[in-house]
C-alpha cells in the first residue's frame, strides 16, 4: 500500500493494564547486564566463598578427623557477612547508573510519558538490583544449607537449626533492601554514575570509618547506629541468635536500617518525576 493511502487507523494491538510495565524494564536491564562477560565474571567470583564453604562441609562430613569444620548456625551468619563485599561491588556495578544514566540522557521524561507510573519505574529499576543481589546473598546461603543436607545425607542439621531458614531470609532481605534502595536513591540524585558510586562508597565506608574513630576515641561501640553497615551487622547477630557485637540496642540498629530504607524511598518518590518543576 502506498504511504499516501494510509490514513488514520485505530490501534489494533492489545494494551496491557497499568502495573505490569516494570517487568519489561527489569527484563531489559537484567539481559543487558548478563550479556557482559566481565559482569558474569564478578557474579561467578561472588560464588567463590560458596565453593569454599561447600568443600569445608564436604570434608567435615566425610572425614571424622575434620569434624571441627562442621557447620554451625553462625557459619551461615559469617557466610552472609563475607558476601557483604560482593554486595557492595555488585551494587555499584549494577546500581550506579540505573537512574543517573536515564537522567543524563533525559530519558526519565520519555519513560514516564508512556503508560508507566513512577512507582512502576522505581519498581522496575529496583528489581534489576534485587535480582543480582539476591543472587549473591540469599541464593548461595540457601544452597549452602541444601549442600549441608546433601553431604550429611540427613535433614538433622536443618531440623535442629530450623531458625536458619527465616534468619537467612530475613537478613538477606534487610541486606539487599538496604543496599538497593540506598543506591537507587543516590542514583536519582545525580546525572553522573561515577559520582553516584563514590557517594555510595562514601556513605558506607566513611560512616564506618567515623564510627570506628569514635569507638577508638571513646572505647565504646554505642555509636554503631552512625554506620549503616554496623547497624546491619548488629541486626544480623540478633536475627541469627548470636551475641550482639556492639554495645547498641538491636531496636536502635533496626530503626537505623529502617530509617535508611524509608529515607531512600522518600528521596526516590521525590526525584523520580516526569516533569521537573523549576521555581
Amino acid at each position: 500500500m502506498p504511504i499516501h493511502d494510509q490514513g488514520y487507523r485505530r490501534y489494533l494491538g492489545t494494551r496491557s493494564a497499568i502495573g505490569g510495565s516494570w517487568q519489561v524494564m527489569t527484563r531489559a536491564g537484567v539481559m543487558a547486564l548478563i550479556s557482559k562477560r566481565q559482569f558474569i565474571g564478578l557474579m561467578l567470583f561472588a560464588w567463590a566463598p560458596f565453593v569454599v564453604r561447600a568443600v569445608q562441609i564436604y570434608v567435615s562430613a566425610t572425614f571424622t578427623q575434620a569434624s571441627f569444620l562442621a557447620p554451625k548456625g553462625e557459619t551461615f551468619r559469617e557466610f552472609l557477612d563475607q558476601q557483604g563485599a560482593f554486595v557492595f561491588f555488585v551494587t555499584i556495578w549494577v546500581g550506579a547508573g540505573l537512574i543517573a544514566n536515564d537522567r543524563r540522557a533525559n530519558a526519565l521524561q520519555l519513560y514516564l510519558s508512556k503508560p508507566m507510573t513512577s512507582a512502576e519505574y522505581i519498581a522496575g529499576k529496583l528489581t534489576i538490583l534485587l535480582v543480582f543481589l539476591v543472587g549473591v546473598t540469599f541464593l548461595p546461603a540457601m544452597m549452602l544449607l541444601l549442600t549441608q543436607a546433601m553431604f550429611a545425607g540427613s535433614l538433622t542439621f536443618i531440623a535442629n537449626n530450623l531458625y536458619l531458614l527465616p534468619a537467612i531470609t530475613l537478613f538477606s532481605i534487610a541486606q539487599v533492601l538496604l543496599a538497593a534502595t540506598t543506591m537507587l536513591a543516590l542514583s536519582s540524585l545525580s546525572k553522573s554514575s561515577r559520582f553516584v558510586a563514590v557517594m555510595y562508597t562514601g556513605l558506607f565506608f566513611f560512616t564506618t570509618a567515623l564510627f570506628n574513630a569514635l569507638r577508638g576515641i571513646t572505647g565504646r561501640s554505642s555509636f554503631a547506629w552512625l554506620s549503616p553497615s554496623a547497624s546491619l551487622e548488629q541486626l544480623g547477630d540478633v536475627i541469627f541468635r548470636l551475641e550482639p557485637r556492639y554495645q547498641l540496642s538491636p531496636a536502635i540498629a533496626g530503626l537505623a536500617v529502617v530509617v535508611m530504607i524509608a529515607g531512600s524511598i522518600w528521596i526516590l518518590t521525590r526525584k523520580v518525576r516526569g516533569v521537573e518543576i523549576v521555581t
Binding site: A85, F195, V198, F205, N212, G216, T218
Partner: protein
C-alpha cells in the same frame, strides 16, 4: 620535550611556527583544570568528606571543654594527640586519601570521555600526555588545598597548646605522608582511569578490596600495595578496630623509611608514565 606541531590560536588562526613544550602544555591544562575542579560539585563532596573529621574534632573539643568523661578509655584519659592519631589512621589514611585518589584519579580522563570533550583537548597542538599530567597536577593541588588544611584544623582543635612543641614534628610527618598518599594514589588511579573501561569499579576493588585483604595476609603480597608503604611511615600506633585491623596489625612489619619512600616514588613515577603513555596511544571511542 617539544612537539612538532604548530601552535594554533583560539580563533583558529596560525600563530606562527611556535612549538609548545611538554611542561608549558601541562601548565596550560593545569590552569584550565584547576578552576574547573575547584568550582565543581566534586569539591562539595570533598568538603563534606574532610568536614567530617573537623566536625568530629569540634564535638570532641566541646566535650573536653565541658569536662565530660567521653574521652576516657578503661578509666584512662585519652590524650589529645592520641585522638588525633586515631583520626589520621581511621579517617584520613584508610578512607579519605584512597577515596579521593579513586574519585579524582579515575575521573581525569574518564570525565572527558564521558562528556565527549576529549576530542577538543586532543585536537589542540599539545602532546596528549601533557593533558593528563596537567590534570593530575590540578588534582593534586585541589585535594591538597582541601585535605591538608583540614588536618591542621583537626590538629589544633584536638592537641592542647602544651603538647604543640613536642608533637608538631609528627604533624609535619602526617601532612607529608598524606600529601604523598594523595600523589601516589592519584598516579595509580590516573593510570586506571586512562587505561581501563570501568575505572571506578577497578579502583574501588583495588583500594577497598585488594589493599585491605593483602595487608591482612602473611608473606610478600602486601608489598604490591600503596597502603603498606604509606602505613609504615605513620608516626602513630595503629588503633585496633576489628578482626581485619587485628590481622593487619599481626602481619604488619615496618620497612625502613628510605625503602618506603623509594617504593612510593617509584610507584608514582611508573604509574604516571604508564598513564601518560596510555593517553598517548589509546584511541578513545565515544559512545553515541
Amino acid at each position: 620535550m617539544t612537539t612538532g606541531h604548530q601552535a594554533i590560536g583560539p580563533s583558529g588562526h596560525q600563530a606562527g611556527r611556535q612549538t609548545m613544550s611538554f611542561f608549558a602544555a601541562s601548565r596550560r591544562v593545569f590552569d584550565l583544570s584547576l578552576g574547573e575542579m575547584l568550582w565543581s560539585r566534586r569539591t562539595i563532596f570533598m568538603a563534606l568528606v574532610v568536614g567530617g573529621p573537623v566536625l568530629l574534632a569540634l564535638i570532641v573539643k566541646g566535650i573536653e571543654m565541658y569536662g565530660m568523661s567521653a574521652l576516657r578509655v578503661n578509666g584512662q584519659r585519652v590524650a589529645g594527640f592520641g585522638i588525633f592519631g586515631v583520626m589520621i589512621w581511621m579517617l584520613f589514611l584508610r578512607f579519605i586519601v584512597p577515596v579521593l585518589g579513586v574519585f579524582y584519579g579515575t575521573a581525569l580522563m574518564a570525565d572527558e570521555v564521558e562528556d565527549k570533550t576529549v576530542t577538543y583537548l586532543f585536537t589542540r597542538p599539545i602532546p596528549r600526555g601533557a593533558v593528563l599530567i596537567g590534570k593530575y597536577l590540578a588534582y593534586l593541588t585541589c585535594t591538597m588545598l582541601v585535605v591538608l588544611p583540614s588536618v591542621m584544623i583537626v590538629y589544633f582543635l584536638l592537641v592542647p597548646f602544651s603538647q604543640l612543641p613536642s608533637t608538631f614534628g609528627n604533624l609535619l610527618i602526617d601532612l607529608g605522608l598524606l600529601a604523598l598518599g594523595l600523589a601516589v594514589y592519584g598516579g595509580v588511579f590516573a593510570f586506571v582511569g586512562a587505561f581501563f573501561k570501568r575505572p571506578l569499579v577497578i579502583g574501588l576493588v583495588f583500594a577497598f578490596g585488594w589493599e585491605q585483604v593483602t595487608l591482612a595476609l602473611p608473606g610478600y603480597l602486601k608489598q604490591f600495595t600503596v597502603a603498606y608503604y604509606l602505613q609504615a611511615l605513620v608516626p602513630h600506633a595503629m588503633p585496633p578496630d576489628g578482626v581485619t585491623s587485628i590481622l593487619q596489625g599481626m602481619f604488619r612489619d615496618n620497612p625502613p623509611v628510605a625503602v618506603c619512600l623509594a617504593w612510593l616514588f617509584a610507584y608514582l613515577g611508573v604509574f604516571l608514565w604508564l598513564a601518560s603513555r596510555a593517553v598517548e596511544r589509546k584511541e578513545y571511542i565515544l559512545e553515541q
